[in-house]
């Protein structure tokens, strides 16, 4: 019975920056793990660079005959149709992380997510509490919905406080772009208290730009997602990186494990598993530090 033949298709974004690289890493790691655990199980992991090609990938997975689909959509609204088709064929669908506007049982069976609005909100709250009158500059990601959700979450987090947002510009989740944007912020604003860049990859560029300018007015930087380098800095008590907001790429692994469990362990799986956008501080950082992860 352990040899029951099951195929799970996993469709995730291409490793286009640190966080998505983490997703790919965890997906491949757990795929191997699950396949040794269940000899009859076949897990196919496919990455795609953009929504249109991800829709293709989902179609191609369906052609290969899958029993379940685990998908982390590049851009959720644009993938609803593709996911719907799989679901309508009676397959099990687990949706990870990025949620479409309509996110209910008609389109998926299981939803495992980090919480994008919360990621913004937690950061905003922390800043509002720690430095209530801070003047903040923001570096955004790419112009896609999750980025907008984080911005909205942040605004909610600072609501009612005296925190002032000086500027918001796109850094495209790229270290180089973040470096450039930060250099220009430093030219533009003689005084900046806090930088929120909502991504640890971009934080690398931000920190370099600040160091180069030798500016002392910036009190700290808030990144996000929980890369091992930034968690280490938090753990070490780096003053520039006092906290990080968790948004673990390993969530895809959770979804895969739950899905496999549904087939082999007879546990009924459905509903929503929302991972907290946990605030990582010096005190709890150790729990989230995985030196072997690529991210």
């Amino acid at each position: 019975q352990e040899a029951k033949k099951v195929t799970i298709g996993v469709s995730i974004p291409a490793a286009d920056h640190g966080w998505t690289a983490g997703v790919v890493f965890h997906a491949e790691r757990v795929a191997k793990l699950l396949m040794t655990e269940h000899p009859g199980l076949n897990v196919i992991v496919k990455t795609s660079a953009d929504p249109a090609s991800q829709a293709n990938a989902v179609q191609d997975l369906a052609v290969q005959g899958i029993d379940a689909l685990v998908i982390l959509p590049t851009d959720p609204d644009q993938l609803v149709s593709a996911i719907q088709q799989v679901k309508d064929d009676g397959k099990f669908v687990a949706l990870v992380d990025r949620a479409p506007s309509v996110n209910d049982n008609t389109i998926r069976d299981l939803y495992v997510a980090g919480n994008n609005p919360a990621l913004g909100e937690v950061a905003g709250k922390y800043i509002a509490e720690t430095t209530p009158e801070a003047e903040v500059v923001i570096i955004r990601g790419l112009p896609i919905p999750i980025d907008q959700q984080r911005q909205d979450g942040f605004d909610k987090g600072i609501e009612g406080s005296k925190v002032k947002v000086l500027d918001r510009q796109y850094g495209n989740w790229s270290r180089d772009d973040a470096f450039r944007v930060m250099q220009d912020y430093l030219t533009k604003y003689p005084k900046i208290d806090v930088v929120w860049c909502q991504d640890d990859d971009m934080a690398v560029g931000v920190l370099e730009a600040i160091e180069q300018a030798k500016r002392t007015d910036i009190q700290y930087v808030v990144g996000g997602a929980g890369s091992k380098d930034m968690i280490k800095r938090v753990m070490d008590g780096d003053k520039m990186m006092p906290v990080d907001v968790l948004y673990p790429p390993a969530m895809v692994a959770t979804a895969m494990q739950l899905t496999a469990g549904g087939f082999y362990d007879q546990v009924p799986v459905s509903g929503e598993y929302i991972l907290d956008a946990t605030l990582v501080t010096k005190d709890n950082a150790k729990e989230f530090y995985f030196p072997d992860s690529p991210f």
Binding site: T47, N56, Q59, V63, D77, S81
Partner: protein, 333 residues
């Protein structure tokens, strides 16, 4: 090319040699099909091949327009961004509720897309011809403009068809079929047939080739080079609009990242299909074949399970180079 010195000593190709060039992409396609079969037997299933050809529709149709622009001696790097821009405006219009009857709304929205596409094409055309800016730069600038406007329209997020009924009505344009033939495939072939007719059998088509082959000769023959080129850009815009019309029902939404890099794919399809980037030659059916090749390479990658996910881009690049080498070898025969 250049007027000063023209080589007539090395035998220029005669019409016979061109035949080989015309066939070459199809041979490459055939080889790829064999390769696909070995990668995964599912590959040659009707279901899979239908899928692949259906989704090549966007690039194929855009590449038809690119064939005109390129053979007239131009280039358009803005088409991917134009897809995003036209699609966004089309969806915004559909969401506006300006027309009450869903069917009528759909038709109006499609007309609007065509008008917008033509207008974008006209803009590109005028900037390169009247503004006399190198097409590469002019359309790169326009790429920034179309994409920027899309980001602004979508306020950084995505734009989604809100009316469920409308979406249901629209869905078959991508997912439907006529006697088992998916509609996008029909659109590909109908558009290509029209494009071939215009390019090969009409006065305008002849002028396109003349302008791309030697601008001066065209000018001295009383052909308005600017007009011919501008119209080529408008045709490109219309093709983009047709692609948008079948793209929107597929994903039902767009964002600032829609169509990213499609311009490179379209140009690749054109060149793989045997049209020279320097102008003066246009191969409509070769372009369609080129678009199929690109999509099939991607499909084979996805279906085969031997290649590490990390290496897919590398293998795709290698396959394209090999396909071109096969072509050149055949052509030299």
């Amino acid at each position: 090319m250049n007027a000063v010195a023209t080589d007539t000593t090395k035998a220029p190709k005669t019409s016979k040699d061109w035949d080989m060039a015309a066939i070459a992409p199809f041979v490459a396609l055939a080889l790829l099909l064999v390769l696909g079969y070995f990668a995964n037997p599912n590959f040659v299933s009707v279901a899979n091949l239908t899928n692949v050809i259906t989704r090549s529709a966007f690039i194929a149709i855009i590449a038809l327009g690119a064939t005109y622009v390129i053979s007239s001696g131009g280039l358009d790097l803005s088409v991917g961004a134009m897809v995003a821009f036209v699609a966004s405006l089309m969806i915004l219009f559909m969401n506006s509720g300006a027309v009450a009857d869903p069917m009528l709304m759909l038709i109006t929205a499609m007309m609007l897309a065509l008008i917008l596409g033509a207008a974008c094409g006209l803009t590109n055309g005028l900037i390169t011809t009247v503004g006399k800016i190198e097409p590469f730069i002019a359309t790169l600038g326009m790429m920034g403009i179309y994409r920027g406007l899309t980001t602004w329209l979508s306020q950084g997020g995505s734009i989604t068809v809100r009316d469920r009924e409308l979406q249901q009505l629209y869905r078959p344009v991508y997912f439907g079929d006529v006697f088992g033939m998916p509609i996008p495939i029909i659109v590909i072939f109908v558009t290509a047939a029209i494009a071939a007719f215009v390019l090969y059998r009409t006065r305008y088509g002849r002028h396109v080739i003349a302008v791309g082959s030697n601008e001066e000769v065209a000018r001295y023959s009383g052909i308005s080079v600017k007009k011919v080129r501008t119209i080529a850009y408008i045709i490109q815009g219309l093709c983009v609009a047709v692609a948008v019309i079948i793209y929107v029902p597929r994903l039902g939404s767009t964002s600032a990242t829609t169509g990213i890099l499609w311009e490179l794919q379209a140009i690749t399809a054109v060149v793989v299909g045997g049209t020279a980037l320097r102008g003066g030659v246009g191969r409509i059916w070769g372009t369609i074949c080129g678009a199929f090749i690109l999509e099939i390479v991607g499909n084979i990658m996805l279906l085969s399970n031997f290649v590490s996910e990390y290496l897919i881009g590398a293998i795709q690049g290698a396959i394209i180079i090999i396909a071109m080498l096969v072509q050149r070898t055949l052509m030299r025969k």
